[in-house]
């Protein structure tokens, strides 16, 4: 434990050189996990933070209330890519404000409620595959399957007209885009989404419907449990979080399975193990390129792995590194869909644990089940290193994924 010397060492420049493949975290993350698990890093703008890479430490940063998201969402703190979408929404709040909003929506995403949606999702998967099979080959899986599936599901759950998907998807893409490029473009897209939901809420106020936005409107109008701005921002957060991550994760899961064909074969032979495989893929897959989670700020001095982090310091939990920590599971850099379940941090932990985790799990399970059973000879047309990802997105987002069957 040589960590006491860390303070004297110069901060490590961040972000790190990109990983050589999309299947593993940046080598620097693994190196630091081994040698300097709690280390100061410096962003290009000169801001500094403590990067935390070991499983136990990352888990503590996510759960321990002394690590504040609200303090990290204030100006002057480093940003790992979500900008306003994290700072001005439920993602940038602490209890009790966070709890007040989360309580209002948690019931719609519980395991029991999600299970009730499974037949509907399975039917959507079937219909999308029916249509895909009539397309000319090669066909784009993004446009025909991985994007429309979660978009349809979250639109139905929220009560957003799915016909609007081309409009809001463009804004959603920008909101998750490269913050270093043009912040005004992102602010404009965020503003457009706010305006879209202000209008939608106004329309839905005059109608009755069995959906989450209507329930939130009642919570505001009848019980004054959230402000109009909170209502609008909660809706836009749920819409973005509800489809961008799942859509891209479907693609990333497939890329991983096709990279390790023996794992794909095993899953085809034993489709009943798909839920277990989804957990292993959640642990293994590298949805984000940087590996950095949303920053927290210490509300008091905290010691992690023998390193004293002062009060008021930014701390960045590296979930993807934590999920590859040998302390979590032996041989962590191998994808093994037959592994026993691990307490991975693919959905985070603590108060900001992914609200839609159960829904995402179920959609991913049904997506894999449908594709493996109905398109057993599906092939990826383009080699992985020739695939094109959208620039600077927080999550790895494919422009297209051409397939044959």
């Amino acid at each position: 434990m040589a960590e006491s010397s860390s303070l004297a060492e110069a901060p490590v420049p961040f972000p790190f050189p990109p990983p050589p493949s999309i299947f593993h975290p940046a080598p620097k993350l693994k190196e630091l996990q081994h040698s300097r698990p709690v280390v100061q890093i410096e962003f290009p703008d000169g801001k500094t933070a403590w990067l935390v890479t070991r499983y136990d430490d990352v888990r503590q940063v996510l759960i321990d209330p002394r690590f504040s998201r609200a303090a990290a969402a204030s100006p002057g703190m480093p940003d790992t890519g979500l900008g306003q979408a994290a700072a001005d929404t439920i993602l940038g709040m602490d209890p009790p404000e966070h709890t007040r909003l989360r309580r209002l929506v948690a019931g719609a995403f519980t395991a029991r409620r999600v299970e009730a949606l499974r037949p509907r999702v399975a039917k959507l998967v079937d219909e999308l595959i029916d249509r895909l099979l009539t397309c000319a080959q090669p066909a784009d899986l993004v446009e025909n399957f991985s994007l429309p599936l979660p978009v349809q599901v979250i639109c139905e759950l929220l009560g957003v007209p799915v016909e609007d998907r081309h409009v809001f998807h463009e804004w959603s893409d920008k909101v998750l885009g490269d913050i270093s490029r043009d912040p005004r473009e992102i602010q404009a897209a965020f503003g457009s989404l706010e305006e879209y939901f202000r209008r939608l809420v106004a329309v839905k106020r005059t109608e009755s419907a069995d959906d989450l936005i209507t329930a939130l409107i009642a919570a505001r109008d009848d019980q004054d449990r959230l402000s109009e701005e909170e209502l609008v921002r909660l809706c836009l957060t749920l819409l973005i979080a509800g489809h961008e991550t799942t859509a891209n994760q479907i693609n990333i899961f497939l890329l991983n399975l096709y990279e390790y064909p023996e794992q794909l074969e095993r899953l085809r032979d034993r489709p009943e193990t798909i839920p277990q495989a989804v957990e292993e893929l959640m642990r293994f897959a590298q949805l984000g390129a940087s590996g950095a989670g949303l920053p927290r700020v210490t509300t008091e001095e905290v010691e992690l792995s023998g390193v004293r982090i002062p009060a008021g310091a930014a701390v960045i939990p590296a979930m993807t590194a934590a999920n590859r920590d040998p302390a979590l599971i032996a041989d962590p850099d191998r994808l093994d869909v037959a592994r026993p379940q691990t307490a991975h941090l693919g959905f985070g932990a603590g108060v900001h644990h992914c609200l839609g985790a159960q829904l995402a799990r179920m959609e991913l399970q049904e997506a894999l089940r449908g594709l493996l059973s109905r398109m057993p000879r599906m092939e990826l047309v383009t080699p992985v290193d020739e695939l094109s990802f959208k620039d600077g997105m927080v999550v790895r987002s494919l422009r297209a994924l051409p397939v044959r069957w």
Binding site: R59, L62, I63, D64, P65, P95, P96, T99, R102, R103, A106, G107, F109, T110, A111, R112, A343, F347, A349, G350, V351, H352, H353, L355, A357, Q358
Partner: protein, 72 residues
């Protein structure tokens, strides 16, 4: 003041929302799951917040004397 009985079922997946919302009332055990720090507690709204926020609906809160579930 009423006394409540707090339970966490085997459904727990250690998302640990409860530990963030009511850190005095829940802790992770050696089995990796959340457990109440004390089974019997004085009425505490933070525990209800945790119950409602639990993605697995794994947290139970009951009146210790009557056994009735505590309403949200």
């Amino acid at each position: 003041m009423a006394t409540w009985r707090v339970t966490v079922s085997d459904e727990c997946i250690a998302a640990a929302c409860c530990l963030g919302i009511a850190p005095k009332r829940f802790a992770l055990g050696d089995d990796g799951r959340s457990h109440p720090t004390s089974d019997l507690i004085e009425a505490d709204d933070a525990v209800l917040d945790a119950m409602i926020s639990c993605p697995m609906e794994a947290i139970g809160v009951h009146d210790a004397q009557t056994g009735e579930p505590i309403e949200r």
